[in-house]
Symmetry: C2
Subunit: 339 residues, 2 copies
């Protein structure tokens, strides 16, 4: 090892060390044909001796392809996001591509900042679980040929590829399930109302209630922050008073989690169906009934679409919708405590 601390050998150094031209080193490094075994051996030896590693940044500058894609999530620490992320990584790997990951934290400014930083790195493509309300800032990138696929929520103000869950259909199925078990007073607990998935799931809730000709008291709809304290407050309000609800539909995993924490403290435990599965759901008593999404499927479908675009597919923006799945485990099958 003759490298100095902080200095990396370049192809030029390798060429000098091996006594060949720069282009010959390039050929060996890239496995191109047309180099005699003897020459190649000299180059290989020099590479080893100097600890040379090609600078892919320089390569990118010349070839234009980064071999990297970026994934923008709400929060990588959330199980939904991390499962999706892993699926994307696996697809990217199959295409020889590395993954940049960033968490927007549901902050539109941060989303934009991250997306543009990735674009400045000239990633080959972008996968975005959007937080923002306006994605026109991506127009120059799209015009420059960087494909962008939206995941979980569609783009706003621009027409772009999107891979989504059947949010309305899933919520409808969940609420129908509660109705089928005798519930008529059913609460909807959702995330912030402007979020696309919240709106869609609420739509599914309303559709199910309407289809069963059940009136909806607007007081049954709690859409807001999803921290434990907020959910506790909402659960307490909904399950108390003269005419409490007998069932809860919790519209995402954080809300379900919050509600589960609170339920044991209640006198009459309401039935519960949650949107999104939780890992230990089957081990609770009662088991947790959910509308399960397929985060890995979303990630795969989105990444597949992105790489098809990178391979030249040039059709109009697509919208892919993946089905959800009802999993009955007990919490959603109890009859109303009060009739």
């Amino acid at each position: 090892m003759t490298t100095h601390y902080g200095a990396r050998p370049t192809m030029k150094d390798v060429a000098a060390h091996a006594g060949v031209g720069l282009k010959t080193v390039s050929r060996v490094v890239n496995g191109e044909s047309g180099v005699t075994p003897a020459t190649a051996a000299r180059v290989t030896a020099a590479i080893g001796a100097l600890g040379f590693r090609r600078n892919d940044g320089a390569r990118t500058l010349r070839t234009g392809r980064t071999a990297g894609v970026a994934l923008l999530l709400e929060d990588i620490a959330d199980p939904f996001s991390s499962t999706l992320s892993r699926a994307v990584e696996d697809v990217a790997r199959g295409h020889g591509s590395l993954l940049f990951a960033g968490s927007s934290g549901e902050n539109p400014l941060r989303e934009r900042e991250l997306a543009l930083a990735f674009c400045a790195r000239r990633v080959d493509g972008l996968l975005v679980v959007p937080a923002g309300e306006d994605h026109r800032y991506l127009l120059p990138e799209l015009a420059a040929g960087i494909p962008v696929v939206f995941v979980d929520r569609p783009a706003r103000q621009i027409d772009a590829d999107a891979v989504l869950s059947d949010n309305a259909g899933g919520a409808r199925e969940g609420v129908e399930h509660l109705i089928r078990h005798g519930h008529r007073r059913i609460a909807f607990l959702g995330d912030l109302p402007h979020i696309h998935t919240t709106a869609e799931r609420l739509r599914g809730y309303r559709e199910a209630m309407a289809a069963a000709r059940l009136p909806v008291d607007e007081a049954w709809i709690a859409s807001g922050p999803t921290d434990a304290a907020a959910v506790t407050t909402a659960v307490d309000r909904l399950t108390s008073g003269p005419a409490p609800v007998t069932a809860l539909f919790t519209a995402n995993n954080r809300i379900t989690f919050g509600a589960l924490q609170r339920l044991p403290a209640l006198v009459a435990r309401p039935a519960l169906v949650g949107f999104d599965d939780l890992e230990l759901a089957a081990l609770l008593s009662p088991g947790l009934t959910v509308i399960a999404q397929d985060p890995a499927g979303l990630g795969r479908a989105a990444a597949d679409l992105l790489f098809r675009r990178l391979d030249g597919y040039d059709g109009p923006p697509q919208r892919v919708v993946l089905p959800t799945r009802l999993i009955s485990r007990g919490s959603g099958e109890s009859a109303p405590a009060v009739l």
Copy 2:
């Protein structure tokens, strides 16, 4: 927008459009001083008109700093990994750095492949949850001044920074807890034995047993694959026969998860303490007693150390050990069913 599909405007294009020199554009883009407001305005207008975005790859080539760090995990979909990842991301963000993430899948070849790919991108630094047995392949990178910090497990065959949990101490505390509640026949269920954390946790188990002068039957130690089927088999074997164990110490979250699935099927439910916390642990019946690690703390400490190195700190390789925490919730406090 006058950009053509697939073509990105460069500083040269902006300069021509604004009727200024290249360097003036560079100054405006980078917010350097010494440009009249009028000139700056012309440049800014040209940037907007052309949809120009600086190519950070080209910038990197000249400056040598990538403003990106890489994080190599076992599996980003695992809650431990994803929480750690988010903490690293937050620290990186504070330093203006983006994050590359990759999952090695506990495969040494894949780890090496990913690490070298990140190095070829000339990331500023590397954070590694190692899967491999020999990290000498990183020597040229370290020599070139790329700092590498190992997380959760130390490097092998090289001397490098490492941020670890107190695995032996945590396991010892968990097993002592079971002993304190009357258990004498305690099983250890671990991951593959060659993994550093497995070995350390087993060491803690043996220390606790020895300190209490309890004999250890080697048949009580099951170290191997952590899939549900393997864990089920192990649990069944350990809890049956003429002299079953009365308590289980499950040495990571996947094993705890597998054991929890199986316990309801057993006649006599053994006590259980798991290493790593699970999200719904408090809602199970009985609640799950665990030795909790601090994955976010590990990520933060490792990232802090990495950025200190990037800021010039040049001390000898450090080893940081973070404490674990016993959380009693019920499953670890039941007395032996059989005495």
